[in-house]
């Protein structure tokens, strides 16, 4: 089962649409609640990252009986220092974004923690690709 979503930078009202859809699909498939929770946490963080930092992006979710594979590709400023971005608490989010309850600087480490496989590829001034795999069985 493949699901895909287009994400617009700055559109916080729609942030969470992809994770909500993927959650619903996994629930309908009878996937274990603890697995769904990890998918939702990781995907929601990654989705909000695109909204908060990038110009636009695309999310593809591939669901098989064994695993959930999520690929998030965005066009945006990229992550200049990945090591720093992976540090819990580090944040580049603007004041505006923080006031909306986002940008606490826990995003990437939190995604990594919930993923079984996590890949991050970023080119400054071009964009970022995040790949998340979470095992179902």
């Amino acid at each position: 089962m493949d699901l895909s979503f287009n994400i617009q930078g700055g559109d916080f009202t729609s942030a969470g649409t992809a994770s909500s859809q993927v959650r619903r699909t996994l629930k309908e498939l009878g996937v274990d609640a603890s697995v769904i929770k990890r998918v939702v946490v990781a995907l929601y963080e990654a989705e909000v990252n695109i909204v908060a930092h990038a110009y636009k992006g695309e999310i593809v979710a591939q669901i098989s009986p064994e695993r959930v594979f999520l690929k998030l590709t965005d066009e945006g400023p990229g992550i200049p220092d990945i090591e720093k971005a992976m540090t819990p608490g580090y944040s580049t989010a603007s004041q505006e974004v923080r006031e909306m309850g986002f940008g606490a600087g826990m995003g990437l480490p939190n995604i990594c923690k919930n993923a079984d496989v996590f890949n991050l590829h970023s080119v400054p001034n071009k964009g970022t690709t995040v790949e998340i795999t979470i095992q179902i069985s």
């Binding site: 309908e28 009878g30 009986p65 069985s137």
Partner: protein, 438 residues
């Protein structure tokens, strides 16, 4: 998840003789548990949560509530009636509380008690429960049985967050049973009856969750009792039993507010929210499951709009009921007369198991088959008109696609497709061209 559970006990039943198959109930069911088959509404028993939305919209009263006959009270020597404050709030001011009580006494009840006496001790106990709760928060109130069932069926991952404390009604019932016992009355002589504003509470009393057994012997339909009381008043006026002593009407302002929206949450420390009506409850739980809402300690969740003021068996307008409750509350003390006695002998803490999740199986228990079916359903949805007309007997095009892949329906059920094949031009005039062409 273990699905070998005994079937859900339901307090709502469809009378097939009366049902005209109009599909109104099917459209409002929050768990999509209804279909129209052979011209009759048909219920999926594992998906129904007894919320009563179907009951509200049925134009021919074909949805029946399985209550107990009032005559059953005469099987017992002591006949106690537990009355929710909502019951009194249905009547216009000229029919006073004392008059209503007198009429009820005339009907054969030997003792009358207000249900919400049990609420006051719960305030401290819920606060303690929330504070000591080790699991993931928010703690979810166990007050509304339709919501408890919704969580079991549609949000099974939250089942262990449902508060394992019994509601005020059960505390009050326990208290009075103990009182009889203390006074040497044999318990087989005691009949405890409850006037219910909804069907979900009947189901909860007859088949409680968490292995609890209710001391309540019978449940009386509030709308039926309202009619009986009002008729007696119209025919005979007020009763001379108005001032009978067997009435435990002691109630606090906390208790009387409990069945109204916010009546529970307002007493809870920390971040406590009150959500009412099924669509709002579902939306909030979805957001919670989506990790969008964080840091909430307690959720009061009620299935009906305006909570129990909007119960399906409640007469009169829910806003007027709320207004009358507020008026009655003005004269009530913060603590009721029996408060200390309740505290001495009662508790909402009853050894209870966690509420069992009963996740609805949409496609198949085996994920490989479920995925195949989901993909097929997704393909079929592209062929269906996506107008959710309900003419196929399913509430939405999505539900029809699910029914088709689970062999419960066929593509032939889509009436719009038949119409399109017969006269494409006419259908396109209404619904546009894109809908039927790839």
């Amino acid at each position: 998840m273990d699905q070998q559970k005994k079937p859900f006990h339901h307090a709502l039943r469809i009378n097939k003789e009366l049902c005209i198959g109009c599909s109104r109930c099917m459209r409002v069911c929050p768990t999509e548990a209804l279909r129209v088959i052979d011209g009759k509404a048909t219920l999926h028993p594992e998906w129904c949560i007894d919320c009563g939305e179907c009951f509200k919209v049925c134009p021919v009263k074909a949805i029946l509530v399985e209550d107990d006959d009032i005559a059953r009270i005469f099987q017992f020597k002591h006949r106690l009636l537990l009355i929710p404050s909502i019951f009194f709030a249905q009547f216009e001011e000229k029919l006073t509380l004392d008059a209503i009580k007198g009429i009820l006494y005339d009907m054969g009840f030997t003792e009358l008690c207000t249900v919400e006496q049990g609420a006051d001790i719960l305030v401290d106990e819920i606060n303690r429960y929330v504070e000591e709760f080790k699991g993931e928060k928010p703690v979810l109130s166990s007050y509304c049985p339709a919501v408890v069932r919704l969580i079991q069926v549609s949000f099974p991952s939250f089942a262990d967050q449902i508060m394992r404390l019994i509601p005020p009604l059960e505390i009050t019932a326990q208290y009075y049973r103990r009182e009889y016992e203390k006074n040497g009355v044999p318990l087989e002589d005691v009949g405890i009856f409850y006037v219910t504003p909804c069907a979900a509470k009947i189901a909860a009393i007859k088949a409680p969750v968490g292995g609890y057994v209710s001391p309540i012997n019978g449940v009386i339909n509030m709308s039926e009792l309202y009619n009986k009381v009002f008729l007696a008043y119209k025919q005979k006026g007020t009763s001379e039993n108005e001032h009978c002593t067997l009435i435990h009407s002691s109630l606090s302002s906390v208790g009387i507010h409990w069945p109204t929206t916010g009546g529970e949450a307002v007493n809870i420390k920390g971040r406590a929210l009150a959500i009412d009506s099924m669509p709002n409850v579902i939306d909030f739980l979805e957001r919670l499951e989506n990790e969008e809402i964080k840091g909430v300690d307690f959720l009061e969740l009620r299935g009906c709009d305006m909570s129990c003021c909007g119960g399906i068996l409640v007469q009169d307008n829910r806003f007027l009921i709320k207004e009358r409750i507020e008026k009655l509350a003005e004269e009530l003390p913060k603590k009721h007369m029996l408060d200390q006695e309740f505290r001495n002998v009662c508790s909402g803490y009853i050894p209870m198991e966690p509420v069992e999740p009963r996740a609805m199986i949409k496609y198949h228990p085996d994920i490989t088959i479920a995925l195949q079916r989901m993909e097929e359903a997704s393909r079929l949805r592209g062929l269906l008109p996506d107008i959710d007309c309900g003419a196929c007997g399913a509430p939405t095009c999505e539900a029809l696609a699910e029914d088709i892949v689970c062999n419960r329906a066929t593509m032939e059920h889509c009436v719009i497709r038949h119409a399109y094949q017969a006269d494409a031009e006419m259908i396109e005039k209404i619904w546009g061209k894109k809908r039927f062409r790839e």
